[in-house]
């Protein structure tokens, strides 16, 4: 991507900002505990919880900022926040 003078851009270009780089802790699923309740998908403020074909979910680590809301709200404690190693 090339930048445009004046930082003028069309809508939707924030996709190029891979905000996953801001993350300190990353969420990890334990699919044995998951009951497919969709709370994590519903509550994620960055639309970084993506449905899979089998009904479970996965994280989009390009945009997940590691806020931890999903792990905090999961009724089965199926999500663990793991320290990001860089």
């Amino acid at each position: 991507m090339k930048i445009v003078p004046g930082a003028v851009c069309e809508a939707g270009t924030s996709r190029v900002n891979k905000t996953g780089g801001w993350r300190t802790f990353k969420p990890v699923y334990d699919y044995d505990k998951c009951i497919k309740c969709k709370l994590c998908e519903l509550l994620c403020p960055d639309s970084s919880v993506k449905p899979r074909e089998d009904g479970y979910f996965e994280f989009d680590y390009d945009y997940c900022k590691g806020c931890g809301i999903c792990a905090n709200e999961c009724p089965k404690s199926a999500i663990t926040m793991v320290l990001e190693e860089k």
Binding site: I3, V4, P5, A7, V8, A11
Partner: protein
């Protein structure tokens, strides 16, 4: 080329400096003018409001705002939709705009603003010096300083042309000394409508705000991108160095008037002493030079017309063979005990082969009169520097010790 005016005297009229600027703005066919009164700028927007009321500025909105912050913020929107946008201010009003000045430059909006230069508070003072605009030097605005009302009038059209160039797209402040130029009546040729229509094409920016094609201006830029935006702004400023010269030359070809591009020179060819200054003091200095040249003092003047971008190369070319350079500043960087033009001039000489002594004088603060005798005293100091070197590098001028 130095200062030249080929215009027929019968075309000249005597008007107030503020009227000359307002007339020039009208002639440039603005689309949006925002106005907030502040002395000594008020006459400019008053005259423009009269033009509006009389229907003399077609296709233009005149917006009364509640502060200078709003005056410039309103123009951010209007300039982004592609409207040629203008305002005028001074002193505390300009300082209140500080945050918006950065936004205008960062969004690359070629807004033109006349600054009727005035001292800053406190203590409150409405008279002229350059502290207000000099304090905004790092905001990304081109800054041009005028010597007389003919130049500030002509400079208005030049500024629109420079700023709106697609390689530049940076805003400009055209600076005139408050009262000394804004309120003086002088003969001049008002900016000619027919030539200006040819000189200044309509404003057609590459990108505009349009509901049919939504865009974000001044979008978020994280550490991955921010540096490159700053680099682009600096590159645009460097591009404007040549553009300011080209536009001044083109203006001369079409209108027959020239007051310098980035700089102007007077009697510098063989000068041992070169005085550097900006604004209306230039006229006084020229009179002093005429008087001293009769006494065979080899003295010349380097008028700095563009302070941003800083014309480092042009200044070096003029002063490289001088024996002493004297810089007069109507401002002070507190804590540095020096004025900005002096500081910048010294800084561009470091790391070069040029080894000329430079001394600085902070002068005319808060409108203190600068008589010819004061300049002559400074010149005699400069002669002493030629004989025995620098004793005081930078100092206040005409300081009244008895008041302290």
């Amino acid at each position: 080329m130095t200062h030249e005016m080929k215009t027929d005297k019968k075309n000249m009229v005597v008007v107030e400096g503020s009227y000359a600027v307002a007339h020039a703005v009208k002639t440039c066919r603005p689309n949006v003018i925002s106005a907030y009164p502040i002395t000594p700028q008020t006459h400019i927007v008053e005259d423009l409001s009269k033009f509006m009321a009389d229907g003399e500025i077609p296709n233009c909105e005149y917006i009364n705002v509640e502060s200078e912050f709003s005056a410039l913020s309103a123009l951010v929107g209007s300039s982004a939709v592609g409207a040629r946008s203008y305002s005028a201010t001074t002193s505390q009003g300009l300082e209140l705009m500080h945050e918006v000045l950065f936004n205008v430059a960062g969004m690359r909006l070629p807004i033109i603003m006349t600054v009727a230069n005035r001292a800053v508070s406190a203590p409150i003072n409405i008279w002229n010096d350059h502290q207000d605009s000099i304090s905004q030097r790092d905001t990304g605005w081109i800054q041009l300083y005028a010597e007389n009302i003919q130049e500030i009038s002509d400079m208005t059209a030049q500024a629109f042309k420079i700023s709106e160039d697609r390689d530049i797209m940076m805003p400009s402040m055209t600076c005139m000394d408050g009262f000394i130029l804004s309120h003086v009546y002088e003969p001049l040729v008002l900016l000619e409508q027919d030539i200006t229509d040819e000189f200044l094409p309509p404003f057609r920016p590459e990108r505009i705000l349009d509901p049919k094609n939504p865009m974000t201006f001044g979008a978020f830029a994280d550490p991955h991108f921010y540096t490159e935006f700053r680099y682009q702004q600096e590159r645009a400023m460097q591009n404007s160095l040549k553009k300011i010269e080209d536009v001044a030359n083109e203006f001369y070809d079409m209108y027959g008037r020239y007051f310098g591009g980035l700089i102007d020179e007077y009697q510098t060819e063989d000068a041992d002493i070169i005085i550097m200054a900006m604004g209306s003091i230039i006229g006084t200095i020229k009179d002093v030079i005429d008087r001293l040249r009769e006494k065979n003092v080899k003295i010349g003047l380097l008028k700095v017309r563009a302070f941003r971008p800083f014309p480092a190369q042009d200044i070096m070319n003029v002063i490289k063979d001088a024996k002493v350079v004297v810089v007069l500043d109507k401002n002070i960087s507190l804590g540095m005990n020096a004025g900005a033009l002096f500081i910048e001039t010294k800084s561009v000489l470091y790391n070069t082969d040029i080894d000329v002594p430079v001394i600085g004088y902070m002068i005319g603060q808060g409108g203190r009169d600068i008589p010819m005798s004061t300049i002559e005293k400074i010149v005699s100091d400069a002669e002493e520097v030629m004989r025995s070197g620098i004793k005081i590098e930078s100092q206040f001028t005409d300081l009244k010790e008895e008041l302290i």
